[in-house]
């Protein structure tokens, strides 16, 4: 029953690559990879519409999932994710503020709505960090509670803004909140990439430290982990990743919370294995969801946030109740 984690990861990697290559050919109409040159329009659809979209979905899924895993280890809490810590609602609030202020336009190909979301995410994380560092030994629970309180605060500000806004703006905000990977061309991907890559590298370098943190801060420190410095680096990494993703795709739920749990049931708890596993499976999961969302009510599109929970929820429950899930510690 004991499978080599290297083989498992290699399998996952091959699967990921296969799905990444196949996904751009699916959509409202299936485009055969061999018929690409039969009409110039087909090539344009695949190259400038579908490939960027698949890439964006992969970036969003992998980033959110990795951040979720990181938060769960850092706070030793299975319910920690970008949502419960208030980063997503901070970002949403920032984005809604820009919509309400009527700031349409772009700043070096980065839309104002993105800038707003980014600022909101950073502000929320900064608040959580500041509040939790007032206490000398801020417990994981204090930080999480601070996150939840901040999350509520931003959510109510968001509702307030929606209440004040016109019907048109309000609808725009609601639609944005549902999350969606409406990426056209490569500009938005390029705007995400630097933050995403920086954050992913930082988290990957700290994977072994996450094992130590999960065993308890005291034990981790006496084994040589610089707790404060490590946590600051990790929170910074998560903020840039989530900020850049939410800025482009809106808040996409489920991926950050559930994909890490699914991976923990399949892979071992060691983060050197779990990290790449969450990264890859979060990515493919969102690519699949986005592909489904483009097909299911074609020619219209479903917001991907609707699909993630619809597909992932039952799968998660099946794993939880029908497979002996040893990896899950929700007591």
């Amino acid at each position: 029953m004991r499978k080599s984690p290297v083989l498992q990861l290699a399998g996952l990697f091959i699967g990921t690559m296969a799905i990444l290559f196949a996904a751009p050919f699916f959509g409202m109409d299936f485009i055969s990879p061999f018929g690409l040159n039969s009409h110039p329009l087909l090539k344009t659809i695949v190259v400038s519409l579908r490939i960027p979209r698949v890439l964006a979905a992969f970036i969003a899924g992998s980033g959110l999932s990795l951040c979720g895993m990181m938060f769960q280890a850092m706070f030793k809490n299975p319910l920690a994710d970008p949502f419960t810590l208030g980063i997503s609602s901070g970002a949403s609030c920032g984005a809604a503020a820009t919509i309400l202020l009527g700031l349409n336009g772009a700043f070096f190909s980065i839309t104002y709505i993105s800038v707003g979301a980014f600022a909101g995410a950073a502000m929320a994380m900064f608040c959580v960090f500041l509040l939790s560092s007032f206490q000398r030994a801020a417990s994981a629970i204090t930080t999480l509670l601070a996150g939840i309180a901040i999350s509520f605060l931003f959510s109510s500000m968001l509702m307030f803004m929606q209440y004040l806004s016109s019907l048109r703006d309000s609808f725009h905000i609601v639609r944005w909140l549902m999350g969606g990977i409406e990426v056209f061309g490569y500009d938005q991907i390029i705007s995400m990439l630097p933050f995403y890559i920086l954050g992913i590298i930082l988290i990957f370098l700290k994977l072994p430290v996450l094992d130590q943190l999960l065993a308890g801060d005291d034990l981790a420190q006496t084994r040589g982990v610089e707790i404060k410095q490590t946590k600051s680096v990790l929170l910074f990494a998560a903020t840039v990743i989530v900020g850049s993703i939410v800025a482009v795709c809106g808040p996409i739920g489920f991926v950050g919370l559930m994909i890490p749990h699914i991976c923990k049931m399949i892979f071992k708890t060691k983060h050197v294995v779990l990290g790449p596993a969450c990264f890859l499976s979060g990515g493919i999961f969102l690519v699949i969801c986005d592909t489904v969302s483009r097909i299911i009510i074609a020619p219209a599109e479903m917001p991907v946030g609707v699909i993630t929970a619809m597909l992932g929820g039952p799968f998660f429950l099946w794993l939880l109740f029908f497979k002996k899930a040893k990896g899950l510690s929700l007591d």
């Binding site: 030793k76 370098l205 994977l207 072994p208 094992d211 130590q212 999960l214 065993a215 308890g216 005291d218 034990l219 420190q221 006496t222 084994r223 040589g224 982990v225 610089e226 923990k264 071992k268 708890t269 060691k270 050197v272 040893k326 990896g327 510690s329 007591d331």
Partner: protein
């Protein structure tokens, strides 16, 4: 050889003074029991030594190095800390993976275990009788097993000093004895200096070479067990504010100290 020197250490938590003017020296080959009332500051002292709490005044020197500026990774090669083991909410690591976490101070950035690491982890599990638990998951262990696994993790850390916070307080007599035997073995094998918080006075006096008694936030007694015994029940009364009587079994070489009823 002097391993640890504590000089005039003060620690306060906010306004509340927890430790005042603590001084002691600990040498190679010694094993210390730390005794005192609940809330006397025993755990606080251990945490100061482990570098977990920033003390206000005084100094701690570890192998001659200043404890205030010692980096966690360097300290981790000298001092290992065994907290009170708590199985609830523990991450589902296998025992082997958990013990391997103790090798962290010696590993590179990505902490990939070398053959040497695997050998040392196996030795640590042999020494602590945890070999047969290697593939069990941490949350499935009993209290006694968990405590020995924590010990194995600390042994894998290969430090000359081991700090233990009540390693056997919540265990049954069999598991208490297993912990005692394991600690004895660790000391015999590596000459590890043990600093153990305990409430079992008689076990402390028969198993350890030295006693550190803390009362009224400061050191009441620091010295060898035989010196402590000479002062008999009187010093215990000062430590615990409770009368003790001395009962001699075993030809009277090692008298038992028994707490007396509080007169009502």
């Amino acid at each position: 050889m002097q391993l640890i020197e504590v000089k005039n250490l003060d620690y306060s938590f906010g306004e509340k003074c927890v430790l005042k003017d603590i001084s002691c020296q600990i040498y190679k080959g010694e094993t210390w029991s730390i005794i005192g009332k609940n809330g006397a500051g025993k755990s606080t002292l251990i945490k100061c030594l482990a570098g977990l709490l920033p003390f206000n005044k005084g100094s701690i020197h570890i192998q001659g190095l200043d404890g205030k500026t010692l980096r966690p990774k360097d300290r981790a090669k000298i001092i290992a800390y065994v907290p009170q083991a708590n199985a609830r909410n523990f991450a589902p690591y296998t025992v082997f993976d958990f013990v391997m976490l103790g090798r962290f101070p010696y590993q590179g950035l990505m902490a990939f275990p070398s053959d040497h690491d695997v050998k040392i982890v196996n030795n640590a599990m042999d020494l602590t009788d945890t070999k047969e638990l290697a593939f069990r998951l941490m949350p499935t262990l009993s209290g006694g097993e968990l405590q020995r696994v924590f010990l194995a993790g600390a042994v894998a850390q290969q430090t000359p000093v081991l700090l233990l916070d009540e390693p056997s307080t919540f265990l049954d007599p069999l598991h208490q004895e297993l912990i005692r035997k394991t600690l004895q073995r660790i000391h015999d094998e590596f000459g590890t200096v043990l600093l153990t918080i305990t409430h079992d006075i008689n076990a402390a006096l028969s198993n350890f070479t030295n006693v550190l008694a803390i009362a009224d936030k400061t050191v009441l007694f620091a010295g060898t067990t035989s010196e402590f015994r000479k002062q008999g029940p009187h010093i215990l009364e000062k430590v615990f504010s409770l009368k003790f009587s001395e009962e001699k079994f075993d030809n009277g070489t090692k008298p038992f100290l028994i707490p007396q009823e509080i007169p009502s």
